[in-house]
């Protein structure tokens, strides 16, 4: 299978009070196109930092990161913005919808950043919202939506520019178990039906079990990699 994400000897440290504090060490990780990978770890294990690096939001201190064969470390801010815009869809634990902006406009935003004309963006945003079963609430602002509804809008937004990769950082962390289940089903749906590559960051071993591969991270190092695939949804 084609390697989509290739992390080699990634090292990341933060300078705190003049001291170098290593957050990630010796990270070697490859994600193939169409894979559904879980990254599991306790809080403070460095999994969020790893996600930021994969999401081109942060640069590693050393090591190499190739995304679709292109070296992320060599890119400037503008190129990184483009990668985030076209190649990666983000789903956050706290949804991060833009307030006082309707669901459909939230979904439009990445397309507007990509330079797509407003009417075209609007059309596609509507279709995406219908796909996540939010067709009825397109004009609602985020403060009029429940947590599960917000996360569905966020997933629609992550799909706006049809990215290859979806990066989900604790997407069910702020939801009750029933809505969390629905959101997970949505990810499986995207994976199976649209062939998206999904990287799911979670601290929950049960959720991780559903994914094809489970990467465990502890104290900034990958401690184990196992096969999962115990999803019984379909």
């Amino acid at each position: 299978m084609e390697k989509l994400i290739e992390l080699t000897d990634i090292y990341k440290s933060y300078t705190v009070g003049g001291e170098q504090l290593p957050v990630l060490q010796d990270i070697n990780l490859t994600v193939s196109r169409g894979e559904f990978v879980a990254i599991v770890g306790a809080s403070g294990s460095g999994k969020s930092t790893l996600m930021n690096i994969i999401g081109a939001l942060d640069r590693p201190t050393s090591g190499s990161y190739m995304l679709e064969g292109r070296d992320i470390r060599q890119m400037n801010d503008k190129q990184l913005s483009r990668i985030r815009n076209r190649k990666i869809g983000f789903v956050f634990q706290t949804f991060n919808l833009i307030s006082r902006t309707s669901a459909v406009k939230n979904v439009c935003l990445p397309m507007l950043y990509a330079g797509i004309p407003a009417d075209k963006a609007m059309k596609r945003a509507r279709r995406l919202l219908e796909q996540v079963d939010m067709g009825e609430r397109m004009k609602h602002n985020p403060n009029e939506l429940s947590g599960g509804q917000k996360q569905r809008v966020a997933i629609a937004r992550s799909m706006a520019n049809d990215p290859q990769i979806i990066l989900a950082d604790e997407p069910t962390g702020a939801l009750d178990s029933v809505t969390g289940r629905m959101i997970m089903d949505l990810f499986h749906d995207l994976h199976k039906k649209q062939g998206k590559t999904i990287v799911l960051i979670t601290h929950s071993p049960q959720l991780a079990q559903e994914c094809q591969r489970i990467v465990s991270i502890k104290d900034g190092r990958i401690v184990s990699e196992m096969k999962g695939g115990k999803y019984a949804g379909f």
């Binding site: 503008k78 985030r84 815009n85 919808l97 833009i98 006082r100 406009k105 935003l109 507007l112 950043y113």
Partner: protein, 414 residues
């Protein structure tokens, strides 16, 4: 388009924080309002003043004699002993010269009128006394100056030929000296230069009754006898025909009279019009009001700082939003544009409201000063543009700060 998205986003943001937005805009509103107010009051005053100067006859050409400057003066080495000499009879502008001038340029001339200032004095009727200014005027004066005769008549050629002691007085003087009476044919005692003369009123002209000293017109010949002046005139006033170019005709008139005076040792004649004077007064007024407006503009600076402050607050509040936008693919430039747009919108709305306030100030101010209000569209455009420029200038630093936010720090911000 992202621009429209930014604008609608900025407006909805302002709407969500109405009080805050209004307070932020207040500095801009006051700044723009006072600039526009001052400029339009200044403009109204300038218009009012130049209009009243025009009514005094700005298009008229004054031909007057003047002594030749020292280097041009021929002979007469002992002039310094006597100082500046009085013009003698042959130095004055004569009726012959005027006739010759009229023959040469008749087509360009509407009227020529001659006046002789007699001096100030008092007018007395029964027991009332008023300050007056006595002027000798030719029969053409009323028409040339647009004097509106209310009752009776203006001075006639016949009055001048016979040196009649008749006069035309203002309606203001009549109403104060003889309220309710018919002034025509009444005797009026005029004390001029300490001597008493008795005149008959033959006409009344419309005047601004507010002015303290009123002008009384008498025949030229009578005026000359009272003032002891020779025949001829120190100055005459030419009213050019409507189609005549005042400036060109002034030059032509000057050349004509200068050639008549070329043989005169001591005097020459020059022609001038008041247009240039009106121009310089207008320029001065405009400069003064601009200077005050610039000072008022300093309050715009304060307003701009207020905008910058609220932009910094807004960016701190929306750190997470900025992080999210960056994660969704917004470049630094996109974020920068978003916040500059927001600050420009604040300033533009503030500027427009300021224009409204300024127009009110300008109208009220001009009315209080008794001028008709003048609104200068270029000033309004300039003010709105300037306030938008303030938006760009004071939005630049906060927007740059927002653009430079590290996306992960911004996303993690609580």
């Amino acid at each position: 388009m992202l621009v429209f998205e930014n604008i609608s986003r900025a407006i909805s943001g302002l709407w969500a924080n109405k009080m805050r937005a209004l307070l932020t805009m207040l500095g801009i509103i006051i700044g723009i309002g006072s600039v526009i107010g001052i400029v339009s009051v200044g403009q109204s005053m300038t218009n009012g003043i130049s209009e009243s100067m025009r009514e005094m006859g700005v298009g008229n050409i004054t031909v007057s004699i003047e002594e030749k400057s020292d280097e041009n003066r021929q002979g007469n080495g002992n002039y310094f002993i006597f100082g500046r000499s009085q013009p003698r009879r042959e130095d004055l502008i004569s009726d012959d010269m005027i006739a010759e001038y009229r023959r040469a340029y008749g087509d360009y001339i509407s009227h020529i009128y001659r006046t002789e200032s007699v001096g100030s004095g008092r007018a007395q009727y029964s027991l009332t006394e008023e300050q007056i200014n006595a002027v000798g005027a030719g029969s053409e004066y009323a028409a040339a100056n647009g004097l509106n005769i209310l009752t009776g008549r203006f001075l006639k050629e016949d009055d001048e030929r016979r040196q009649r002691k008749v006069c035309v007085v203002s309606s203001g003087l009549c109403s104060r000296l003889m309220p309710g009476e018919d002034p025509i044919g009444k005797e009026l005692d005029l004390t001029i230069n300490g001597r008493l003369y008795v005149f008959y009123i033959v006409g009344v002209y419309e005047s601004d009754s507010a002015s303290r000293t009123q002008t009384v017109y008498m025949p030229l010949s009578t005026a000359k006898r009272i003032s002891g002046a020779d025949d001829g005139y120190q100055s005459i006033t030419v009213v050019p025909a409507a189609s005549t170019d005042t400036q060109q005709f002034t030059d032509a008139t000057e050349r004509f009279f200068a050639s008549l005076y070329s043989a005169n040792k001591n005097y020459t004649a020059s022609a001038s019009n008041m247009e240039s004077m009106v121009e310089s007064v207008t320029d001065m007024m405009t400069n003064v009001s601009l200077a005050i407006a610039v000072i008022a503009g300093i309050s715009l600076l304060v307003g701009g700082i207020g905008v910058m402050n609220i932009m910094l607050v807004s960016i701190t509040e929306r750190t997470r939003e900025i992080g999210t936008r960056k994660a969704l693919g917004a470049t630094n430039g996109t974020i920068m544009m978003q916040f500059i747009t927001e600050s420009v919108i604040i300033c533009a709305i503030g500027g427009l409201m300021g224009v409204g306030v300024g127009l009110i100030i300008g109208n009220v101010g001009a009315n209080l000063l008794g001028y008709s209000a003048a609104v200068s569209l270029p000033t309004i455009m300039a003010a709105v543009r300037f306030s938008m420029a303030i938006g760009v200038f004071f939005g630049f630093y906060p927007a740059g700060k927002a653009a430079r936010l590290n996306p992960i720090d911004a996303l993690r911000y609580e």
